[in-house]
Symmetry: C2
Subunit: 501 residues, 2 copies
């Protein structure tokens, strides 16, 4: 397998590799089953970084030209299909998409999901539950019951608002979280990402302002950007969103929505204090701005006392509460839920109807049965205990290994350690060095709006095992150390212009 | 249970009934388990139509105050929850929703779905497959295998574009439909409704024109209206969309998309002829307008020779092909797919990522296995044979029972008989009379854009059994006969202003 790299070409090197391998597969030079060299070896042979080869192989996988299976490396797939693509014609698709849609969005989640599947990479990059904790046999058994008892009903349509018994069960689950609601105030959604999307589509016209914490969950920012919201970041400190800044903002602007993750915030891990919670609700009620409370993590508290959710404290009826089973039970069936006043549930259901009619029927039957049978509380307890150990493993490994100047927070719950890199680390270099070292993380950048955020990293500890956490922190520490730029002599330190919120 | 109707009140009667029953439940006057009187009896007692009582009970069900179970009537649910709603405050939600979203959309699908679940109503209203045909035990068995073999992988995240083995299997299925594509040109969607939504969000800015057939699928119209498209209807005749009208339109307008259901069109059942198909593609290629081909029904042909899909004939690469398992296999797991040029798959995947991350993982595993094991072709053959018998039962019943002046088409495939009512039938009266008689249908109105369409009805024959089809046609014929208005003597015939396309 001979590959020629042209370093003077404007085509990125990973695409050069990808194109040449694609040509060899199309011509039959690389037959089905042929194993491509391991990334590390090819990288060494070509004199490029491992990240470059990784990116090339990722493209080939996306085209279903090769497949990477655990322990078998990357091999050429049988091209049962025509090697030449179907007529792509000369249609200028990028001109045909709407201007807002064609704006290249950040494919970061997809790339991180993909990298996290590789066994040779320690993934701190994405917020997944531990696969080992998944109660597969219980769920298998319950699914078996559902199919035997409900039969066709479990495979047919269910109401747009959700399977009624599940809505009832969720209303009871809410009572355990201190939230009083009836099933008519519950809307089942296809994962909480859909809840964010529905909120964006229900409230936001292009240019409408939305208040968000800075930093915030990038999937939320993505949903608001998709409807061309104008994001108004409010800085967060150890006590969460700064309500003094929010107040001065509300006196000058008329946001359509305040988006906030008050408990074990993603990415920072912050918990909004009780006084701030009350003040936020006062402001929202007095300015009549709905609050979208995103709460995927509150059940996963490892120390300290629980605080009431915004929804539980909400006397004015301004809070829309969003939660999900993706961070606790499983993400694959796309089951989340919204608790909101009935006019909101109605409006969201109308939009949901034209988006996907309803959420997966068997998924809803399964979750309902899992909770009703009493599996939920012990499962959450077991998760808490496992994640406490993983968090501690990460904190200990960081204390032992992190390079001088790096700082991080000890989170009381949730999925993430939020860290700040030592001065002088180049994020571009670090991303390459980490990929070469076989470790991923989420760079802070996509979680910020106005601030650069380039010095932050989000490290997930729920997905990898304790042993892999220790291994990954070692790899990361080495990558950071090798990515530090020395300030050039004679060059003045760059001036950073910080926008005023 | 005493209910007082105030006919002079501006509150609709069904809401008066609903509010009084709600009050009695809240006060405990109607305890949990209390059976509400059958609709027919309450309607007679109050001197209102059965449709009015049906609407009131539907509201109560939506509030989870009562439950209607097959054979048990409607009974009061245990109010485990606070009877008083959680604080709804004084938030003016309808002012807070964006203007476009707050526009009341048509909740027709939801209402029809709900009515179709009642065993005492013969539903010709919605396009559902026959529940008896659903291969429950095979699917149960395959799901069992999936859980045993794939375990956690079947419950975790899958790629936004779809589970790779399913994309490969779908590419092979496409070959059987004469469409050459590779898995990279396949995007798995959460039902074809999501495909319509993604197309709308990828191509349409508010005010952008979209060409649609008139009449057309109302779920498609709904998806385009949700993004504020300007719908440009092109009339269809027995040969499908009139390409001469399309051509003159394309000379004057610049639509962003042409939306068409060429085979067993919903609602009309028309099949676009081969010459028209070729002409449509020529026009689309020459004006560079993408064609969204919606093809849920083409496998369900009961007579005549299959025609190639637009996608199979497409040499310019302008066709986006959308199909689904909801009309054949099952609708509950929300699995549909799009075949399109790769730039389109990429763009749609980015929008899908921020909408729901990905489609149900176990649903994708299950469908993939069902096809790979060879269950698909025999299942479709069995469905064809059952639906042929049901179509014939409906055509025979109509021939025997339909009132004079009513006409209808014999469809060669698909799910619907498209009928035209005799002159002088009031649709408003007919909807009430049909609900009272215990039969539903889809009125033509929501399928039209400019034309009134009030004289058309869409009758589904795939869902009810042959016996119920005969019973339902009898009920419908009687309802039509009782809803005919005599033209008033001395009043001139109304002038209908037909908009020019």
């Amino acid at each position: 397998m001979e590959i020629l790299i042209d370093r003077s070409s404007p085509t990125p090197i990973y695409l050069q590799i990808c194109q040449q391998v694609r040509g060899m597969i199309a011509s039959g030079a690389l037959p089905p089953g042929f194993r491509l060299p391991p990334e590390r070896r090819l990288a060494a042979a070509l004199g490029v970084t491992r990240g470059t080869v990784l990116a090339a192989y990722r493209e080939l996988r996306a085209d279903a030209l090769v497949d990477a299976r655990v322990g078998r490396g990357t091999s050429v797939l049988a091209q049962r299909f025509h090697a030449q693509p179907s007529p792509a014609g000369d249609v200028p698709w990028n001109q045909l998409f709407r201007a807002a849609a064609a704006r290249p969005q950040d494919p970061l989640v997809r790339d991180l999901l993909e990298l996290s599947e590789r066994t040779d990479v320690v993934s701190f990059g994405i917020g997944l539950p531990a696969p080992e904790l998944l109660p597969v046999s219980t769920l298998h058994h319950l699914l078996d019951e559902v199919m035997a008892e409900a039969g066709a009903a479990a495979l047919l349509h269910s109401p747009t608002e959700g399977h009624t018994p599940l809505r009832e069960t969720l209303a009871e689950l809410m009572a355990a979280r201190g939230i009083r609601c009836g099933p008519a105030e519950v809307l089942v959604v296809s994962g909480s990402q859909q809840g964010l999307d529905l909120a964006a589509r229900a409230f936001i016209d292009p240019g409408d302002p939305v208040v968000v914490e800075e930093p915030s969950y990038f999937g939320g920012l993505q949903a608001f950007r998709a409807v061309q919201a104008r994001l108004l970041p409010v800085p967060a400190d150890e006590e969460g969103m700064r309500t003094d800044v929010l107040e001065s903002l509300l006196r000058r602007q008329r946001p359509k929505l305040i988006y906030v993750l008050p408990t074990f915030q993603n990415p920072s891990g912050h918990v909004m204090g009780l006084a701030r919670r009350r003040r936020l609700l006062e402001l929202a009620a007095s300015f009549q701005v709905p609050v979208l409370e995103d709460d995927p993590y509150s059940e996963l508290r490892y120390e300290g006392e629980p605080l009431p959710s915004l929804k539980a404290l909400d006397e004015a009826g301004v809070v829309l509460y969003l939660s999900t089973f993706s961070k606790t039970l499983f993400p694959g069936m796309r089951v989340g839920w919204l608790v909101a006043p009935r006019p909101v549930v109605r409006q969201f259901a109308l939009i949901k109807q034209s988006s996907d009619l309803h959420s997966s029927t068997p998924g809803q039957f399964l979750v309902e049965r899992f909770i009703r049978r009493g599996y939920w509380a012990p499962f959450v307890r077991a998760s808490r205990s496992a994640y406490t150990a993983r968090r501690d493993a990460m904190l200990e490994a960081l204390a032992a290994q992190a390079p001088e100047g790096m700082t991080w927070r000890r989170p009381e719950g949730g999925f993430y350690v939020w860290g700040r890199l030592p001065n002088g680390v180049s994020m571009t270099r670090l991303l390459g060095a980490a990929a070469s070292a076989g470790v991923t993380f989420l760079p802070g950048r996509p979680c910020f709006i106005d601030e650069p955020g380039g010095e932050f990293v989000r490290l997930n500890f729920s997905h990898p095992s304790e042993e892999r956490i220790r291994d990954g922190v070692r790899r990361l520490a080495a990558a950071i150390a090798s990515s530090t730029e020395r300030p050039r002599a004679g060059t003045p330190a760059p001036i950073e212009t910080r926008p005023i919120v």
